[in-house]
């Protein structure tokens, strides 16, 4: 049998699993009303990175194209939302959907030529793309406000509700995004892109339209990344090019992906969780050490658990502790 379940909880018996999901849902639902505003923001940020890292996961983890410059779609999503809301007075959710679509269309159009490059060339091309778009946005003063940035309408909500609103919007998109990646991993399309990663030439002669699949994978990746950017823009109420087209952002996304486990559904969630919350805890004590500690963590993971932390949950010994039945089938590839 092909095992493509959420191994994380999949090995636990069904009633227990439902209780676990219910507990998680209640916990997530209560956080914005009970926790300190600071932690609500941390959580919102965590969901935002889950969306972006899953986005990178689709094109890089599953398809094998390391789109380091994927942050460009975050910036595009942020700017499209900002312009549509401020200049054209559109409703937030309409602007947001359009932002995702514009980011996706941008990836599709550029994907055809850029995805012809491979390896380091592709990585550099995506970084170049990010810099290029950043420059264009910085200089289109009349439309984007140029280097001075652009302000969005300030949501007319009391602070507490405001925090909760962005918390739940990010959470909802993150859940949809993880679910889409989960479905994708079990679909023909998912098999297609995994074959492209494994061996693009063989994938082509087996009937996989590699050009189209790569472009579609990047489109989906860009769509979600664009949504994250759109919500971010409205949340912050002000954006400027160096912030939303920040390559350090992009590097952080990859760090989370590698740490958690690329080409898996839950790897990005685990990696983001570790970096965001560990980072947040260290931040309070030793801000200077943050990057150093995360860097060390990545080296340790790459050396000892090259599949990422998600592999630890698949570990037979650990798995058996949670397991209610024998693990007989080979370890699933996806999770």
């Amino acid at each position: 049998m092909m095992a493509t379940r959420l191994t994380f909880l999949g090995k636990i018996s069904r009633p227990l699993r439902l209780i676990a999901y219910a507990a998680l849902a209640i916990l997530l639902g209560l956080i914005p009303f009970t926790a300190d505003g600071y932690w609500v923001r941390v959580c919102t940020n965590f969901f935002m990175f889950v969306i972006m890292v899953e986005g990178v996961n689709i094109i890089s983890g599953y398809t094998g194209y390391a789109a380091l410059g994927n942050v460009v779609f975050f910036g595009i999503g942020a700017y499209v939302t900002a312009i549509l809301m401020s200049t054209f007075g559109l409703d937030f959710f309409i602007a947001l959907i359009l932002a995702g679509i514009v980011a996706g269309a941008f990836a599709f159009g550029l994907g055809m030529p850029i995805l012809r490059t491979k390896g380091h060339y592709f990585v550099m091309a995506t970084i170049g793309l990010n810099e290029l778009v950043k420059q264009v946005v910085s200089n289109l003063d009349s439309l984007t406000g140029g280097g001075k940035g652009i302000s969005l309408p300030i949501p007319s909500m009391p602070p507490r509700i405001n925090y909760a609103f962005f918390y739940f919007v990010m959470l909802a998109i993150a859940i949809i995004c993880v679910f889409v990646v989960y479905r994708l991993s079990k679909s023909k399309f998912g098999y297609g892109i995994r074959c492209i990663k494994a061996n693009e030439q063989a994938a082509g002669v087996m009937g996989i339209n590699t050009t189209m699949y790569k472009a579609l994978a990047w489109t989906l990746s860009a769509f979600f990344t664009g949504l994250a950017g759109g919500v971010y823009a409205y949340w912050q109420t002000f954006i400027e090019p160096p912030v939303v087209f920040d390559v350090v952002f992009a590097i952080k996304m990859f760090l989370m992906l590698l740490l958690g486990g690329q080409g898996t559904v839950l790897g990005p969630v685990i990696g983001t969780f570790v970096v965001e919350f560990l980072g947040e805890l260290i931040w309070g004590h030793a801000a200077d050490l943050q990057l150093g500690i995360l860097g060390t963590l990545v080296i340790v993971v790459v050396l000892f658990v090259p599949q990422g932390l998600v592999e630890v949950t698949r570990n037979k010994t650990i798995g058996r502790i949670f397991s209610t039945r024998r693990v007989k089938e080979p370890q699933p590839v996806e999770f």
Partner: protein, 257 residues
């Protein structure tokens, strides 16, 4: 009837003609052998046919349809499957999943579900004797099994024409006869086979006709018996092995007398 026809096909790599004006036609239902020294252009010819060596000169028709300039996946969906001389499994996928890819994206790929693809894969695995390794990863199986995985994967595409690139290279004698049986069985199912092979006993034993390639040029197309007697073929290719063995045999009989 010809299923595949090549007219004046050439492929150059920076001024060097790896394939040089090849004309040939493969008949529906036959096993068509392709032999020739290393570097003769056999693999390149296969790459040209399946769309991996675009652009090239000349004209190729498959089932009366021109396929020059078409993408590999379009050619695959028309009904051409192939194996790679250097095996190219999809790592990270099980053997069954590897084979199911053929069913998912091959000739009727767009039609069935993943479940149907997996059951089609099981058939191909059985035919190639890989059923017992279905849940293993491609890294866990032997070379002989990897060669059969290449076959199974292409078979699951339900092709009309199967291009085999040295599926017997590096195998033991028993494995070679097993592979010969598999190729014959596949052919009996009505699949036309175009096979590149260095193992003379095998290619002579199963092919209906054989083409000999030398420096990218066709030097003979004939039945196995006549190819074995063709002086030009002995000179450029068979000679390497056959002549040596014959000389030895002659020397042996002289000493005996």
């Amino acid at each position: 009837m010809d299923i595949l026809a090549l007219r004046n096909v050439s492929k150059h790599f920076g001024g060097v003609a790896a394939v040089d004006g090849v004309n040939c036609s493969v008949r529906q239902g036959e096993i068509f052998g392709l032999i020739g020294p290393n570097g003769a252009g056999k693999t390149t010819l296969l790459n040209v046919i399946c769309g991996l060596a675009d652009p090239y000169q000349g004209e190729i028709t498959f089932k009366d349809q021109r396929i020059a300039g078409k993408k590999p996946w379009d050619i695959a969906r028309l009904g051409i499957g192939r194996t790679f001389q250097i095996v190219q499994p999809f790592h990270g996928l099980t053997i069954r999943e590897n084979v199911a890819i053929g069913a998912m994206f091959g000739k009727k790929g767009h039609e069935g579900s993943i479940k149907e693809a997996l059951s089609l894969a099981d058939k191909a695995l059985e035919l190639t004797g890989l059923s017992h390794r279905a849940d293993d990863l491609a890294t866990q199986i032997t070379l002989s099994q990897r060669k059969r995985l290449e076959m199974a994967r292409a078979l699951a595409m339900e092709p009309d024409l199967l291009l085999l690139d040295e599926v017997m290279a590096g195998l033991h004698l028993t494995e070679i006869s097993e592979m010969m049986e598999i190729v014959k069985r596949v052919n009996e199912q009505g699949i036309t086979i175009f096979i590149i092979e260095h193992v003379m006993k095998a290619v002579m034993g199963i092919s209906h006709r054989i083409m000999v390639l030398h420096y990218g040029k066709t030097i003979a197309v004939d039945t196995p018996e006549r190819i074995a007697e063709n002086s030009r073929v002995i000179e450029v290719y068979l000679g390497e092995r056959y002549a040596a063995r014959r000389a030895k045999r002659l020397a042996g009989s002289e000493m005996g007398s």
